[in-house]
Structures are given as structure tokens and as C-alpha cells.
Amino acid sequence: MAKIIVITSGKGGVGKTTTAASISMGLAQRGHRTVVIDFDVGLRNLDLIMGCERRVVYDFVHVINGEANLSQALIRDKRCDALYVLPASQTRDKEALTKEGVGKVLETLSQTYDYIVCDSPAGIEHGANMAMYYADDAIVVTNPEVSSVRDSDRMLGILASKSRRAENNEEPIREYLLLTRYVPERVQRGEMLSVEDVQEILSLELLGVIPESQAVLNASNSGIPVILDAESDAGQAYRDVVARYLGEDVPHRFLDTRKKGFLSRLLGS
């Protein structure tokens, strides 16, 4: 049985798709058979971030409607054999995702895969509900600012009350906090909520902090999950996140302002 992970947030633009791409790649690189599903029907992006947009023939909605089978729609990642992408439809709307249809696809996938990563659309409407309904674990992506934190809190409430686990009175979804676009310098200047502030409000286990990084934008633009950019701080932070998710004890990094290098101190900048 696969573990179903939903990447969610409530708010848009906080880094859900970036996170879904990097975490699924990270899990697959460690040899876990992983499939990442784009639930953002009508506004699909995951294929771009994963760099497989020119290979999409069939999509999630085709499979749900029985117009294609899973093996036709799944796209194998060219960089990692254990990773598959199930793209969203760009021409349909979210109503095409039915609870039964999604459930059937997830059940079939969970017979062959170890991890199913669901990339949720923004909002708390139907699409987001379908993405989280069957989840075992949830990674709540939050930016260090008040509106994002409140939306995450709202999403946590929905996870706790409207998921399959909640409806069947099973053990609740395991929830993790992932703080993205973090800028320690701005936290120090009081312009941004700190990790402690966010944790205090959300009271959630911290899976990791991803620093704001140019590498994320570069990686997105070139269709490479940023976790593959091992040189970058964001890429390393995502590696840590995957390790922590798998139960390894990895200390948190990138929380403090960068120590100034010898040269920049010399030049006084």
C-alpha cells in the first residue's frame, strides 16, 4: 500500500508545486517508487516544473473518465526511473474530479507505488478537497507572512474535518509544516514572521525551512525540480526535508542570516 501525501496550503503562489516536484523527486532518488499527481485541473503547472510538458498525451481526467488507462497517462521521468508524473488536464475544470474517480485511480496506483504525492490546487474548494481527501500525510506549505499562515490554519481545519480519515473516524492525517521563501535577514529586521512565530501560531511539526532562492525560479524555468540543483541552498534544504520526512534526524539549516564572507567584510558591504 502506497502512502498518500498531499502538498497543500490554501493560499496560492507559496510553493506547492515546487515542493511537490522536489519531494517526489527526492523520494524517487532514494529508490522509492513514486508518482506525483497534478490536481490543479485547468491550471496545470506541474508538468512544466517537472520538464515533461511536451510529452503529455493523456491526463488525470482522461483516466478518471475511462478514456485512457493509467499506463498511457503516466509519464516516466527521464532523470529518475522510479518517478512518474500524472499530469492534470488543461482543458477541463475541477468538477471533472469525482470522489469515486479519484479514489479508484489512487487505489490502483497504490498497488504499484510506494508514495503518491498529490499537488493540490490553491483554495479550499473542490479541487483542493479532492487532493487532500484520501491523504495519509499532509505537508502544509506556508510563507512567513500572516495571510499565508491564516490560510494554512484554515486548510489544517479542513484536513482535520473533511478528509476520508476524519469521516471514517480513523487516525487523523499526519500534518507537517514546511516554511518556504524564508529570508532570515528580513526576519531579523522584523519584516517577516520567524519560524518560531509561525510554529507558535500553527503548532505543527516543522518538516523544514526552504530559503528564498533564485535557484527556485531558475529551476522552474528550466523544468528541473530544484532538489536536483545540489549546489543551491534551496536544493539542499529540500534534500533535508525528504530525509526528515523519511525519519532521519537532520538538523535545520538556513535559519540564520548568512555569515559575511571575508571579502564582503573587507569591502564593508
Binding site: 479550499i124 491564516r150 490554519d153 484554515r154 489544517l156 481545519g157 479542513i158 482535520a160 474535518s161 487523523p172 507558535e200 501560531i201 500553527l202 503548532s203
Partner: protein, 238 residues
């Protein structure tokens, strides 16, 4: 609020009031009389929510037992009390079963508990059932609403801004209270809100309320109680 039944006599000081109130009680439906398996399964149930069942009044539903079988009440009651439950009555019994229940001082309840409680009030007395209460142990998130009808609400977790917690009785929050808390929803002027760390969006008792803007800054972040004094909200540090 409550008018004494004989308020026309000016020099009459009432020692009691009779009121009708509806309580919702857990019903324990017996499917057989095997005490050992009842004990074992009850144990398992209680382990899931020990706080909820501690000293909880329960009604024993015997409608699924065979009608000829006399119910062995004394060992059954002992078993329930050993599990910290307070058996208050039976439901669905035959006339013989009902007589046996009355013999061991159990009330005989009909379909509607409220109508029976009025009749059954006098034989009882020392064992008045505790009011219904609710305990929440997971964080109450923005957008969630929790209501404890007919009793107190205890939250042993943070209450987020944008969440709403309500109770007919008191509200207790062990954790930061950042959302809206409304006690005395049915108009009980004596209801109070207790919290460890007041950062609420709004506090209300019996319809009177105070929004965050009007809560003095020196009270924020502190353990306080909120209650009514001459029908207006008063917040006091604990």
C-alpha cells in the same frame, strides 16, 4: 432571569426551582448479558476517550435483550461503576425489567428523555446526571466551529484566529485563545470563559461581547476569566 414559581407572594423565599432541561446522555445498548465480554469491550471503548467517559451518566438500553431474560442489574451496575460510569436509567425494558430497574434505583426512561425526567425527578435526587460537556484535544483551526450544547467546553489545544468555540455553559481553553469564544449561548448570565493566554478575536457571554480592539492591551497574553457583571463583560486576570 428565572421567575420563581410563586412570585406573587412577596415574602416567599424559594428554596428550590423546578425547571425542565434536556440532556443528551450516552446510551449503552446491551446486545447480550455476558458480563466478561461487556467488561472487555467497555474497557476498549473507554481507553479511546478516557476523559469523555469519566463520571459520565449513561442510560442502559435493554431493548435488544431477549424479553424473558431477567436482567442481572446488581453485577451490571457494579461493572459500570467500576468503569467510572454513572448509570442513571434504563430504556426499552419490558414491564418486568422496568420493575427490576426501579428496584435498584434506576429511572425508567421513555423515548424522550426530557418528558421522563419531569416524572422521574422525585424518586431520584442524589444522583443527578452531570450536564453534557465536550473536550477537544486537537487544535481548533481557523474556520472551524465547535459547539458544546447544554454544557461546558474544554479545549486543551490552541484556538486559532478565525475559529469559533461556543458552549451553553463555561468555556475553558488550555492554550492560546486567538479565535472567538462564546459562553452561555442559551443566555446563561453566569457562564464564564477561562483561558490561559488571551489573544481572542472576540469574547462573549450570554450575547454580550467584547471585540479584540476593545480588550485592554495589558490583559492580552495573560490568563484571564471573562464574566458578566451587571450584564456587561468584565475581564479579570487570574
Amino acid at each position: 432571569m428565572a421567575v420563581p414559581p410563586e412570585s406573587d407572594k412577596k415574602d416567599f423565599f424559594p428554596a428550590l426551582e423546578l425547571k425542565a432541561a434536556a440532556f443528551s446522555l450516552p446510551v449503552l445498548r446491551l446486545l447480550n448479558q455476558d458480563l466478561a465480554s461487556i467488561a472487555e469491550q467497555l474497557d476498549a471503548k473507554i481507553r479511546q476517550a478516557p476523559g469523555f467517559f469519566r463520571h459520565a451518566p449513561v442510560v442502559i438500553d435493554v431493548s435488544s435483550l431477549s424479553e424473558e431474560d431477567p436482567v442481572a442489574f446488581p453485577p451490571l451496575l457494579r461493572l459500570l461503576r467500576d468503569h467510572n460510569l454513572i448509570p442513571v436509567g434504563i430504556r426499552g425494558g419490558t414491564p418486568a425489567q422496568n420493575r427490576a430497574a426501579q428496584g435498584v434505583k434506576l429511572a425508567v426512561l421513555n423515548e424522550s428523555i426530557q418528558t421522563v425526567r419531569a416524572n422521574a425527578a422525585e424518586p431520584k435526587g442524589e444522583e443527578s446526571p452531570a450536564p453534557r460537556f465536550k473536550i477537544v484535544t486537537r487544535p481548533v483551526r481557523s474556520g472551524q466551529r465547535i459547539y458544546a450544547p447544554g454544557g461546558d467546553l474544554s479545549v486543551i489545544a490552541p484556538v486559532s484566529s478565525g475559529a469559533e468555540i461556543m458552549a451553553d455553559g463555561n468555556i475553558h481553553v488550555y492554550g492560546p485563545l486567538r479565535g472567538r469564544a462564546l459562553a452561555g449561548m442559551q443566555g446563561d448570565l453566569n457562564a464564564r470563559i477561562f483561558c490561559q493566554n488571551l489573544q481572542a478575536d472576540l469574547v462573549s457571554v450570554a450575547g454580550r461581547y467584547r471585540v479584540s480592539e476593545n480588550i485592554p492591551a495589558e490583559l492580552k497574553g495573560h490568563a484571564v476569566q471573562v464574566f458578566l457583571e451587571q450584564e456587561s463583560i468584565r475581564i479579570e486576570r487570574l
